[in-house]
């Protein structure tokens, strides 16, 4: 994917969350957004995922600008997959029905077609035995993996993952990251917001550091995490890395 963001501004009431953010990724397969909490990462991701409309600025994916009108944005959202930090799944539906819902009601598959589509991925990610369960009966990691699978089985152009592991304990975090890595191996492109720097190192083609509503630095994982000379970025990693 090739992402170009120009002068992106987002405000909520009086608060300016994104303040003229710029980004040119070049051709990358995976973009990881890092930075301090409240710096604007999630706000940026929601705009990229077509969930919110910015106050000003433009976002262009592979030469196609994101629309500002809700029905085209909905059409856009149907071509991508989005996973939030938590509470992705619909609690009244089983894991299987959560997976089938978008396939049947958004992408027009018949129920047998949809079931056939999800069978192999469920097996591959070790979730087949949990498909009949409601979210309340699943662990946090299983819930997130079902949520990621739900976004994946619609065969999205790219996936947006907003801190998908930050509500999980280390073991579950590992299982979710492992799954994301495997999806990457299958050719899935993604934009990921995370605090897991180890994963960012392994998986990111490009790391972008978002702080104070701006893009403070972009580069390879090494350039940003280890060798960045921007003081704000350097002090951030000095605090969080062991």
């Amino acid at each position: 994917m090739n992402l170009e963001i120009s002068n992106l501004v987002q405000r909520f009431g009086e608060t300016t969350v994104l303040d003229g953010l710029e980004l040119r990724t070049g051709d990358v397969r995976s973009l990881v957004l890092v930075g301090p909490s409240g710096g604007g990462k999630s706000t940026l991701l929601r705009i990229l995922a077509g969930l919110d409309v910015p106050v000003a600025g433009s976002v262009v994916f592979d030469g196609e600008p994101l629309s500002r009108d809700e029905s085209s944005l909905r059409a856009y959202r149907r071509t991508v997959g989005t996973v939030f930090q938590a509470y992705n799944l619909f609690p009244h539906l089983t894991a299987m029905d959560n997976l089938l819902l978008p396939l049947v009601h958004v992408h027009g598959l018949s129920e047998p077609e949809a079931r056939a589509r999800v069978r192999e991925p469920l097996e591959r990610f070790g979730l087949a035995n949990h498909a009949h369960k409601r979210p309340a009966e699943l662990s946090g990691g299983q819930k997130q993996r079902i949520a990621i699978l739900r976004a994946f089985v619609v065969q999205p152009k790219r996936m947006f993952l907003d801190e998908p592991t930050s509500a999980l304990d280390p073991e579950m975090t590992a299982e979710v990251l492992e799954m994301i890595g495997e999806l990457q191996g299958l050719g899935t492109q993604f934009v990921l917001v995370t605090h897991e720097m180890g994963f960012a190192r392994r998986a990111a083609d490009l790391v972008a550091f978002v702080g104070d509503g701006r893009m403070l630095a972009t580069g390879t994982p090494g350039e940003i995490i280890d060798r960045c000379d921007v003081p704000r970025v350097r002090s951030f990693f000095a605090r969080i890395l062991p």
Binding site: Y87, P91, H92, A151
Partner: protein
């Protein structure tokens, strides 16, 4: 101890207490007089069932529509819903029935008191129902709407497939309670001379002067309708149970 046994024991104890009270007032029972009018009571019971059923359906529809008004972003629509709900909930059903029948229905030439009764009762109960529905819809967290949007559902699909099924579970107990109230409130239709169960009992009482012998079966008749409703509600609650 199993739950049903506990219920039985409490019912028996309660019945014994009531029986004791009746024994002390030394009441001269006259069931024979009332038995002669059983047909009239049964007819009234049938009318109450029919009125209640019609009002249950109509008040649910009224409640749903009004809940949409209350949740509307359009200020005028929201105002209509709000004024209606507060006006109805803040005034006695008795007054609403009298004004509804003798003033409003007369003015528009609606003479069938059964129809008027069902309409007034449905508008009355619908006001309460709307607040239950509105609360249920509002209780579904924003994250659910977000997830629904993220997978590309339209607002209507999100409402139908995500919001409503979860809200139903939340409102079920309150709706069942409202249905029970509605059935009992239908007894007030006697004031506009609808020959329902309570009016039948009042008439039988005025013929026989056997107050307790007519009103005890009246109470039993209402219980006969409301208890199964509670049971069905509990059954549905169990079926819809899942932790959020």
């Amino acid at each position: 101890m199993p739950r049903w046994l506990a219920h039985m024991i409490v019912v028996v104890l309660f019945a014994a207490l009531i029986a004791l009270a009746f024994a002390r007032v030394d009441y001269a029972w006259n069931w024979a007089g009332v038995w002669g009018y059983r047909q009239k009571l049964l007819q009234g019971f049938g009318v109450t069932i029919a009125l209640s059923l019609a009002s249950l359906i109509a008040s649910t529809l009224v409640g749903m529509l009004t809940a949409l008004l209350l949740g509307s972003k359009h200020v005028l629509l929201e105002a209509i819903g709000r004024v209606y709900v507060e006006l109805i909930r803040g005034t006695p059903l008795l007054v609403q029935l009298l004004i509804g029948f003798y003033v409003v229905a007369s003015a528009i030439g609606l003479e069938n008191r059964y129809v008027v009764g069902v309409l007034v009762l449905s508008l009355f109960s619908g006001a309460y129902m709307s607040e239950i529905f509105r609360g249920g819809l509002a209780a579904i967290p924003q994250t659910q709407r977000d997830s629904a949007r993220a997978i590309g559902l339209t607002p209507w699909q999100s409402f139908r497939l995500v919001i409503v099924p979860q809200a139903v579970r939340l409102v079920l107990p309150a709706v069942a309670g409202q249905f029970v109230s509605l059935i009992k409130d239908s007894s007030l239709l006697s004031v506009i001379a609808v020959s329902e169960f309570t009016l039948a009992a009042q008439e039988v009482n005025s013929f026989t002067y056997s107050t307790l012998e007519t009103y005890l079966p009246l109470a039993a008749g209402y219980l006969l309708l409301t208890l199964p409703l509670s049971a069905v509600s509990r059954m549905l609650e169990r079926r819809y149970r899942y932790e959020a």
